[in-house]
Symmetry: C3
Amino acid sequence: MAHCHRLWILTALWFVLPALSVCAQQRYVLTSAEQNIHQERWRLNGGQWSVEKKTLHGGKQEGVDLITIDNGVLEIDLIPTRGMSIYEIRSGDIRLGWDSPVENIVHPGLIDLESRGGLGWLEGFNEWMVRCGLEFAGHPGTDEWENAGGGTTTMDLSLHGKIGNIPASEVEVIIDSDAPHRIRIRGVVYEKFFYGPKLKLTTEVSVVPGQDSFRINDTIENLGTQDQEFQIIYHANFGAPLLGDGAKVHAAVKSIAPMDRHAAENIDNYATYLPPTTGFVEQVYLVEPLTDENGATVAVLQNAAGDRAASMHWTPEQLPYLTIWKNTAATADGYVTGIEPGTGYPYNRKIERAAGRVPKLAPGQTRQFTLDIGLHRGQENVAAIVDAVKSIQGDRQPVVKREPEAVVSGQ
Amino acid sequence: MAHCHRLWILTALWFVLPALSVCAQQRYVLTSAEQNIHQERWRLNGGQWSVEKKTLHGGKQEGVDLITIDNGVLEIDLIPTRGMSIYEIRSGDIRLGWDSPVENIVHPGLIDLESRGGLGWLEGFNEWMVRCGLEFAGHPGTDEWENAGGGTTTMDLSLHGKIGNIPASEVEVIIDSDAPHRIRIRGVVYEKFFYGPKLKLTTEVSVVPGQDSFRINDTIENLGTQDQEFQIIYHANFGAPLLGDGAKVHAAVKSIAPMDRHAAENIDNYATYLPPTTGFVEQVYLVEPLTDENGATVAVLQNAAGDRAASMHWTPEQLPYLTIWKNTAATADGYVTGIEPGTGYPYNRKIERAAGRVPKLAPGQTRQFTLDIGLHRGQENVAAIVDAVKSIQGDRQPVVKREPEAVVSGQ
Amino acid sequence: MAHCHRLWILTALWFVLPALSVCAQQRYVLTSAEQNIHQERWRLNGGQWSVEKKTLHGGKQEGVDLITIDNGVLEIDLIPTRGMSIYEIRSGDIRLGWDSPVENIVHPGLIDLESRGGLGWLEGFNEWMVRCGLEFAGHPGTDEWENAGGGTTTMDLSLHGKIGNIPASEVEVIIDSDAPHRIRIRGVVYEKFFYGPKLKLTTEVSVVPGQDSFRINDTIENLGTQDQEFQIIYHANFGAPLLGDGAKVHAAVKSIAPMDRHAAENIDNYATYLPPTTGFVEQVYLVEPLTDENGATVAVLQNAAGDRAASMHWTPEQLPYLTIWKNTAATADGYVTGIEPGTGYPYNRKIERAAGRVPKLAPGQTRQFTLDIGLHRGQENVAAIVDAVKSIQGDRQPVVKREPEAVVSGQ
């Protein structure tokens, strides 16, 4: 469903038919519930780059869509069927992603979020980045609030919300006609219920051909007519080879707190990682990031050798909280760390609301979230991006809280 | 899978091969689990009418079947994948249907009825008419009853039951050979479980070419060997343009009661509708309809101008109770009213059973339900159908109950 | 996806190209999530035998895979989409299988195991043999255990576990090159969750051309790095015509106990069956089988006439417990008996654990389970297999327990 002609034709005609440049973007619809479109296979070749769409088959992944962007430097896998999650990024010997014990890219039709006491989300969890949210984004358990009638409404929440298991209704590929000819994959995921939230998530993952970075640019809109709470956490997960014994996370920290008592005991070592450790129990740290003069911050995960790193850049005005999830369990159990900017922390929404970390959208209001992810190679480049974090920190001392904010039974 | 030849061939051969008329109907199988048939696309043209089947693609509707009957006057969309629900009826500037906040026609594989405390049904709710039932049809919550052993069995019910999210096992199109050549779409939906009900629902939606009315003719059969409770509510939902500021519902009322205290406060205005109203809280009224000398009744929804209306005709012997659901919320939140004949009201089955409104089917027993839906254009025709309601009412005064029968916490 | 050439070609070339016999098996991949393969239709003809794969359509079975092995004597239906369950075996007038009230072979995407208070599994239950397990295999209800932190973890289990509703990730057909040219259908089903079990089930159903028996040969492997509890029960179900008024089950019994008080009242008649009986309430008996000198045991179901029987052979070292489930309800409600070797009984895991019947797998450890199923025709052959049971029993008297081990409310 090419709305414009194929790029390589356009390129050939570039100087011949300048009038065409009025069309500032080429758009290709891969999926559209509105237009009743679903491309089983699709490919766009741009010479130095390509975008490919295929449908996965076999086992739990039967019928799952996968889009792979190759910009010549990075290969990025997107999963429209799973809320536009990002499965993996590959670039030479660097991989953003991890080896989850979860096999296959699981179709949401096989996921029961209510399973295992609200932990069913874990049965599909194997992406580099999955968005938690939008109605609720944290731990399972009973939330309660005062309703319109003055009584108390209760609702059992499931872990990390629904958006990661909702198929995108609209998916398109957009190629900017103007340099640097950014390649954009856009998806629309609706989390709308009758007598519930009416939220529209428009996701965009984009790359510039030849660059070793990419951008996530999302918009959440309240399509309802009443104020609507929402939560979003960018649950980005890194395994080997970036993660390893002696790998480090760098963040500009205004304050840091342990999520529970177990994390509290290890808070002084929050920034360094163990090798895969059988029986390791997760440690979660809750960070308020510092910002530079432009209101931006950056978090970095570097390997032990200090010659490979990944960086995440964002503005805490959009995403004020950062969760660092350390799960350096054995490889077979999932050796992974999460670096997770969010509108809040992953406590149950009841705790988050009480702490003032559950934002609302007025009717028609939108909120935008931009994250830039970079890959860094070589001692010098890694040192440079780590210095960028240190330069934001400057001489400001982190406030280290030694007690968890909330004590939660169970997990 | 045409069991008979195509109609246009038959028509051509009508006088040549009279022996063929022994075949009093032409039958076409669109879906059959028994015969392992599923038509991805199918179309039958009858000159002035057509029946078309397609499979929907994209987002939550991937793989959902849709059948559209066009009788020259009405277009009716049926959803075999969602229990033979009726998505919409279009006829010139009249539409039966509504603008639900739920996007796409959602595949049942993506619905979790247990979600949100048993309210998961609402995540797929956007049809003009969805049947509630068959094992249970009302509000979620714990039902309890005495079991065979003399103890108490409890079961958590989910909102409005399962039948609207069960794909039809058998779907066929039937064209009567005899005038008026009624076009029938028949579906079989099984709600059968081991250690549970064994109910078979055979649905039929039919039209006569050129007429501005259609018929729903359903049969429920108990395939088990023991008495089986069942419930069915025809949850028919009307939005704009029929519904609007000053629109009216007309019913022949023996008694009317509010479902809760909030509805009680507004019972004197139950018959008229507000414009879309942000923050409107639903009002539900429970009606025992009066009947004419043939045991029939009719309910009418007319627009504010009094020049467009829809009517529903049925016999209260089949469906003794009528629920009027007023939800004149903002358009984006779902501006809609339900006119819902049923075997009971939408209270939790526990309340319905105690009130004697949960019928049983003996082994092998069937119950049939027929509803005729008509569209009415012009002041005169609308006045005529409203008069039909008034004529049933006659000088019998409705009993207006001011207190709800049951007080339910939460919704 | 034939890894080797087709058998008939091989056969033709057998003497010409003896080098090919290095390839001791022919392998054909029907499904592979790893290789992104899913054969919609596939057939292999071996002259006297065949293997056929098709995809089912219509209703709740849309998209379900079915493999039929025909070895010239037996037809065996396998369901890769439902955890490699065995739907039915047909051989002349003998059928292993039953007439469940559940229609269609239900796609797991439509099953909600949490439904009906954890009884959702029953909505898809119609196979001859479905494996219960692997994390839990018994009755629903809350399990609790001491967690690593010294506290108590609780989890609501659903009936009979998940494995029967997980699609196989890898499915292949293997034909032994060497006589007797065994035909093997192998499937890999993963029950792996993050923060949960990491179990791999490799199933194999195999037949020798021309023989009236088949073998189930399964392996469960703990892919995690910590000890992992598991349970498996081979829920094999027999209906008419083998089951009937006066049919008998024969087992070599060390001890037998009723599962509940109702079963206790009828324990003296545990071995004989009633005709279809409206309102029959299930009776479950828990057996410790005796073994022969090789550690093997056998259970037999014979028809009333004593001229048709089925036998199950296994070693109690692998599967120490046998559950006999008598459910001689009316035909329409499911007239069926289960003969179910397992690692335990179908009590909730909490009870099973307390009784020491929940085994563990160390990291990387595997457990193998082999069952041989035979069909027996004619008085003489039936008498012979019944004698085999009696010969294991010898003069050892069964210990008959008259009280259930555990008293469970509800079912």
